[in-house]
Symmetry: C2
Subunit: 215 residues, 2 copies
Amino acid sequence: MKEPRVTLAGERADARANRRRLLDAAVAVFAERGADAEVREIAERAGLAVGTVYNHFPSKEDLLAAVVEEAASQFEAALQGALEEPDEVEALRMFVRRGLRVAERFGSVMAAALEGQVPLARAAAYRARRVVLKRRIVELIQRGIDTGRFWPGVDAEVVAAMLTGVLSPWTYPELRRSRTPEQITAALVAALLYGLERRRAPASPPLRQAPPDAG
Amino acid sequence: MKEPRVTLAGERADARANRRRLLDAAVAVFAERGADAEVREIAERAGLAVGTVYNHFPSKEDLLAAVVEEAASQFEAALQGALEEPDEVEALRMFVRRGLRVAERFGSVMAAALEGQVPLARAAAYRARRVVLKRRIVELIQRGIDTGRFWPGVDAEVVAAMLTGVLSPWTYPELRRSRTPEQITAALVAALLYGLERRRAPASPPLRQAPPDAG
């Protein structure tokens, strides 16, 4: 019997693939069962031995922290794509659409991770990632102010806080109960761009009216 | 020696006063030292024996939960006051101003409580309070839509999520580092009412321009 030749590069690729499968399984299982989910369940879902899980993630906390890290990376990638869009209104719309997809996937697992059911060992690291993300959203809004696309009086950080508030792992799943991601995207972008106030009071209030310049 | 006559009503009033002092001390000490603060420190700050603390709050978790409850009550009172205002723009402004005062007092202690440094025994109860609060903010915005003060196309729940995002215990303290509460109130109200987009592109962009109808 001939043993397959195991190369170091091959082993590394396997390890990466296993890590990926574990993360995907962890996202799914934590989302279904909250932070109480057991490592055994995650191993089963990934089709791997419990020992393999512990090779990659010494504790459940580490696994939970990796899931949170992964969500942060995906939010950053969504924002990076949006920043390449030249028009800031379109960039904002694109970030909301893509960011919502990340919230969709990670919302409930992040709520579980952050809700203190399991103390998150790397809370400080996650906070740092969140600060970087918010700084880049501020950058996008500031760019729109600088190009004249947005009002000069806008406080970019306050608007970034409004936007990330909707994407937050507590809020997004609540909104999703009665709305599609497309409906949330449209409502959020409209509220961000046009605000609440009706500008000119019409003689008799129409029942439905699109905001001005709604595109 | 004549003993002071101790009445049941008097005892109850003392207990209430002690509970109040303990809560105030807990807010201050948790805000300064995070959820790691010890019950002993809170007792000292309140000028009470540690045993008295445990009479009122069997564990530090109970104390932390009571602080979170207190914050929820104060947010609800702020909103109740605002709902009595007949004009919805003014009501929104009033709620933001008062809500920010509550965030100012409780922001850092709630972040500590919710960040999982101490598992919050009554997380579900707090979540329920938050849902009630958000429902009432939605009510206020919906009223504005119904009276024609706000755009009919507005999604009141999405706007409520934007608003509460800024008041959140993670976001508010960050904004406060470089802004006064008055600046945050003004920026948040302006962003909520007028949105980001400049409506008519001027021939040459002015550097500073107030949004239309800014009051």
